[in-house]
Symmetry: C2
Subunit: 243 residues, 2 copies
């Protein structure tokens, strides 16, 4: 029997180091959704910085736009928050933006040794999947950012949406057990937006007045921009599109 050696499609429910051709970091509520939104509004380069003080210093030094949150709300001295909708009407053509986040930047740092690091969300799942398939030689790992050491449903749902698109565009990938679990979540009755609404962090955002961000984050394939890691000190991303 001729057997084609399958490539592996894996999901990490929390960030973990490990060799992978392609690591896709997923923080649906809201870092990677906001990153895709900023790139779609013309941001040319995106930097991710973990602490507020380093982020403020970097912005002062470079003149970059500075966005981010602490406990869901914009931080004093920043140019804006981490809400994708607050950026959707703006034109940031040619600008550099710094995103200051905790869990998202930690996740990128953990996997930064992968040959290719992309930021993935539900809004750009089909484009991320096509790009990941193009770049992969033997393994794609979808890395859920989580919330500190707890698994986040929103990130696993995002991983499931991207995994589904990978399997749609390529027959070469075999999902691991973890990828199958994420796929089951993405296939849940009621659809992506309803499932996303059950996430603990979706409830927190609704309580803070960001219910529209949760709905926006659930719009599968509404954006075509994907951020790809191009430099590691600080973590710099540029927009890419698959062929």
């Amino acid at each position: 029997m001729l057997e084609v050696a399958a490539m592996e499609l894996d999901v990490a429910f929390l960030p973990r180091p490990g060799r992978s051709d392609v690591a896709v970091v997923i923080d649906v509520l809201r870092m990677t959704t906001t990153a895709a939104t900023l790139l779609s509004r013309g941001v040319e380069r995106l930097e991710i910085v973990a602490g507020t003080d380093p982020a403020l210093a970097r912005a002062a030094e470079t003149g970059a736009l500075l966005f981010g949150e602490r406990d869901g709300l914009p931080f004093p001295g920043f140019d804006g928050g981490n809400s994708p909708l607050e950026h959707l009407g703006n034109d940031y053509s040619g600008r550099v933006a710094i995103l200051c986040t905790t869990n998202g930047s930690k996740a990128v740092e953990v996997v930064a040794d992968a040959d290719n690091v992309l930021l993935g969300a539900i809004v750009n799942a089909p484009t991320v999947a096509r790009l990941a398939v193009e770049l992969a030689r033997d393994r794609i790992t979808l890395v859920c950012a989580g919330t500190y050491d707890a698994v986040s449903l929103d990130d696993v749902l995002g991983a499931g949406c991207i995994a589904r698109e990978v399997l749609r565009v390529s027959a070469a990938f075999e999902p691991t057990d973890a990828a199958r679990i994420a796929l089951a979540l993405a296939e849940s009755a009621g659809g992506v937006e309803k499932v996303l609404g059950t996430a603990q962090h979706a409830r927190v955002l609704r309580d803070l007045g960001f219910a529209a961000d949760v709905s926006f984050a659930a719009r599968l394939g509404s954006l075509g921009s994907v951020a790809r890691l191009v430099g590691r000190g600080p973590l710099r991303f540029e927009a890419v599109a698959p062929d």
Copy 2:
């Protein structure tokens, strides 16, 4: 608004230490399914031992029955393997049995400080859930054994089946994001047996000739026996039933 403080229903995709009233260790293929089967055949006390040499020594010393596997097959010198079906027709009334397993015993050791440790599977999910609810004061953690450091779909499916039963018998529990992911897997289209069949370890067992064990392990609520940890050196379990 009067709000009842919810108790937490959590799932650990891999064993991790942590304070919990009730930890339910789940190794659907096949340790905890076999444990429930042995108790249903009259085994009075069950011991779980990690290594084959310690297990052989303990059996020689105590006269206990010795069951277990290495790479899915019975180990030389053992009285039987880890297949639930090979035990189903036997009468072990009043006997002590030793189960020698790697991932399952590691998982029990990681959570052995919980106030109550139960072994859960799909076959005894309703009984395990009722018992866990009776014992819980503020948190139930469903602990998936996994396969070394990889998440196993069969264990997360078992956790989802037990979680669903917990929510059926008690309105006091709020599922965490991880528990909601497991619940989504248990609610997957096609049903529990079909989903279990997609697990990597189900494929391994089929290749070894144990397809019937996989079907047996998917029979939700077919057994009423639950093993509860009563001693920690070695890990000793006794059968319990909820009130």
